[in-house]
């Protein structure tokens, strides 16, 4: 076995002494095994700050042939007779050459920066991509509690928006980078604690998004038939946690969606689209079946404020207004603009165009009396006061009690909804609350309960106990950092900021500590008998889904239960 010398900080010496004896040399130089390694050591890291790695590179990386002697102890220094013949010029040339390589190689391998990104949605993947690019020696591991990657790109983007999911191609390329690994079915908190992660990795970036909801905090919120839009979206997108949601779409003809953002429009559109159109998307099978049997024909999109404040964007609005055979109702009285409204719209392209679209929709359609036609009502200036319980079916919702509102400017100059004391009821059998997501705190992580985010400055987590000091090596990105707003691309800029902070910190404080990184994670997970899912395993799921989907004329047939997903990975 070739011997291995772990340290050589100096230039290759011209004369070397074997451990056995001082060997006089009449030759320009002589190589012993030590020198051999010193010389070829130019191919290996030689910075004093690096401690011996657990698996030293084999001598075969050295350009020189292995020692003739087969006495194998590393301490054996055997004079290599054949090297005696090498010329000085070759040595100089190789050492200069080797030195050049050393600089490149050492920058690539000594700074084995171990990074863990928690969460494999856009925030996680953009962070990983930028870390890999900015640090050529970085190894990035992305963990996710689901067996499937891509976060809300897979489970949030509506089935009839396939182009929005194309970004998965870019994320897959990142996952295929040799310095990147995906670990699915690994949950922060139960599979591995935050402190364990911080022991194993130099840098931990939390990008696990917002898996909970804001609550209204009004009576009746627990009634059956009242769901958060997040749950409904996960249900029709085949998220394994919600395949059993079984929302009742058969005992009512009216659904009320609270909120007028893009998620609200998504759920309204899925409820109103013809099942035939949905049947060629990647919508989950159980949802397609339920929607095919749905009796819902009327959807109300209710906002507390006016059309100028509606949170949706033009593309989504255009799309829902274009649904065939859909009667859209927008009261003209609601479209009256105040001077404050004009002010709000002045420098805001999106607000202007959304308002124009709503105005056009209000005047262009005439009510059709054909029965069975689906209806979409944009209802403004209504704040939910309580959910009404059905008399016939105890425990079930059968309407929403709204207070009418008017707008008033608050101290910060924003227009907010103020109750007027007048009330109105709208009957329905299904309520979807689309009022915003919320992040979930975990043990050991500073958390701002009121804002629902991890306190941070440019992505650096701020300690709650340490008097506002930065938590070393701990960062956030995405919704967990800035709140649950924005689009996929917003995370691009977010990740840039976080990675810039990480890079600054690494430069200021050179990374010298040895961390176990990927090996440590695998070791820990195996000890805990956690069967993690690799990216290759996900590709088995992907293949299976696409295969079954193609038989049904769908881009994929989602595997929607934990059992189904994990079973495929074992094949």
């Amino acid at each position: 076995m070739p011997s291995y010398i772990s340290k050589c900080a100096g230039p290759p010496p011209l004369v070397f002494f074997s451990s056995a004896s001082i060997v006089p040399s009449f030759l320009p130089f002589r190589f012993s095994c030590n020198t051999l390694c010193c010389w070829c050591h130019s191919f290996r890291p030689s910075l004093p700050s690096v401690s011996t790695s657990p698996t030293p590179p084999p001598l075969s990386k050295c350009a020189a042939p292995p020692p003739l002697s087969d006495s194998s102890s590393a301490a054996d220094h055997v004079v290599q007779r054949h090297h005696r013949r090498s010329t000085l010029s070759l040595h100089s040339a190789m050492s200069i050459f080797g030195g050049m390589i050393a600089r490149k190689f050492s920058s690539a391998t000594t700074r084995s920066l171990h990074v863990c990104v928690v969460g494999s949605g856009p925030a996680g993947f953009y962070t990983a991509e930028k870390m890999l690019k900015a640090h050529k020696g970085a190894e990035v591991d992305i963990i996710d509690r689901l067996p499937t990657p891509f976060g809300l790109v897979r489970s949030g983007v509506a089935p009839d928006h396939p182009e929005t999911k194309i970004v998965i191609n870019q994320f897959s390329r990142v996952a295929h980078n040799e310095r990147c690994s995906f670990f699915g079915n690994v949950t922060l908190g139960s599979s591995i604690s935050l402190s364990e992660l911080r022991q194993i990795y130099h840098v931990v970036v939390l990008a696990y998004g917002a898996e909970s909801d804001r609550v209204l905090g009004i009576p009746g919120e627990e009634l059956k038939g009242v769901h958060s839009a997040r749950e409904f979206v996960w249900w029709y997108n085949g998220h394994p946690d919600f395949s059993n949601l079984t929302p009742d779409l058969k005992s009512t003809d009216t659904a009320i969606v609270l909120g007028q953002g893009n998620v609200a429009l998504d759920v309204a559109r899925i409820l109103l689209r013809s099942p035939k159109e949905l049947s060629t998307t990647d919508i989950a099978n159980h949802a397609l079946t339920a929607l095919s049997e749905s009796s819902i024909r009327k959807v109300y999109l209710v906002g507390r404020r006016g059309p100028v404040q509606a949170a949706c964007t033009a593309k989504e609005l255009r799309e829902i207004l274009a649904i065939k055979d859909l009667y859209v109702n927008i009261k003209e009285a609601d479209l009256v603009k105040t001077s404050s409204d004009e002010e709000e719209m002045k420098n805001n392209r999106i607000r202007k165009r959304v308002f124009e679209l709503l105005s056009k929709a209000s005047t262009s359609r005439s009510p059709s009396q054909s029965s069975g036609q689906r209806e979409l009502h944009f209802t403004f200036f209504r704040k939910p006061d309580k959910f009404l319980e059905s008399y016939d079916k105890s425990g079930y919702v059968d309407g929403v009690h709204f207070e009418k509102t008017t707008l008033k400017e608050n101290d910060s100059g924003n227009q907010i909804a103020i109750g007027t004391g007048e009330y109105e009821d709208i009957k329905c059998g299904l309520v979807l609350k689309s009022i915003g997501y919320k992040s979930i705190p975990i043990d050991g992580l500073p958390f701002d309960q009121s804002k629902g985010v991890v306190p941070n400055i440019k992505g650096r987590v701020i300690s709650s106990s340490n008097g506002g000091e930065n938590e070393d090596g701990l960062y956030v990105c995405g919704w967990l950092k800035r709140g649950p707003t924005g689009i996929i691309a917003t995370n691009l800029y977010d990740a840039e900021e976080t990675v810039a902070s990480i890079s600054e910190d690494i430069e200021k404080k050179e990374v010298t500590s040895q961390k176990a990184g990927r090996e440590g994670l695998v070791h820990l997970l195996e000890n805990k008998k956690i069967k993690f899912v690799t990216f290759g395993d996900w590709e088995k799921i992907d293949f299976e889904e696409k295969k079954v989907g193609s038989l049904k004329g769908k881009p994929r047939e989602k595997l929607a239960t934990w059992n189904d997903l994990l079973e495929v990975t074992t094949k």
Binding site: A108, N169, T313
Partner: protein, 177 residues
């Protein structure tokens, strides 16, 4: 024997080199990249007998210069190709999350000269919807996947948004947003 050992050393050295992850300096330098097509075109030139054929081949490409925070790079773009595709073919880092399907805003570029901006066809509603979402939107933003090379755009100068986030692009004044 020495020579065989030397060649063995050399072989092992080159193998070790090919395995070692050589890092090219991380600050990307820009070199004008000559497209293969143009090489073919020039070799065809040797055999062409008419000058009009030459002119046609020149007209098939326009010159476009991309500006980012590291500097500028001039490339040749065939008529009919989008700026996004051209950027990717030349390793220019223009994002394109939806790969040109008008479902995102990441390929947005700043057209640096107003006269050139005016030569572009008006954006469709769909493009405008996406431009609405672009970070740091200004008056002369377009989506790189929707700007298609045509002869009138020869000499087009496009700034990547990263160039304007922290730096001033010469002659360009970002509008307030």
């Amino acid at each position: 024997m020495f020579i065989s050992k030397l060649s063995r050393l050399g072989a092992q050295a080159s193998k070790a080199l090919s395995k070692a992850p050589l890092t090219i300096p991380s600050r990307r330098s820009f070199f004008p990249i000559v497209q293969n097509d143009s090489l073919d075109a020039s070799s065809r030139k040797l055999f062409s007998t008419t000058t009009s054929q030459e002119e046609n081949e020149d007209k098939q490409k326009i010159s476009v210069t991309f500006f980012d925070k590291d500097g500028e790079q001039e490339i040749k773009v065939p008529i009919g190709m989008s700026m996004l595709e051209a950027a990717h073919e030349n390793d220019i880092e223009l994002e394109g999350a939806c790969e040109g399907s008008l479902a995102c805003s990441t390929s947005h570029v700043i057209v640096m000269d107003v006269e050139q901006y005016n030569k572009l066809e008006d954006p469709t509603d769909e493009e405008n919807d996406m431009l609405d979402l672009a970070f740091g939107l200004t008056e002369t933003y377009r989506l790189g996947c929707q700007v298609i090379a045509k002869p009138e755009l020869d000499g087009l100068r496009l700034a990547l948004p990263a160039a304007t986030r922290n730096f001033v692009v010469e002659g360009y004044k970002p509008k307030p947003h």
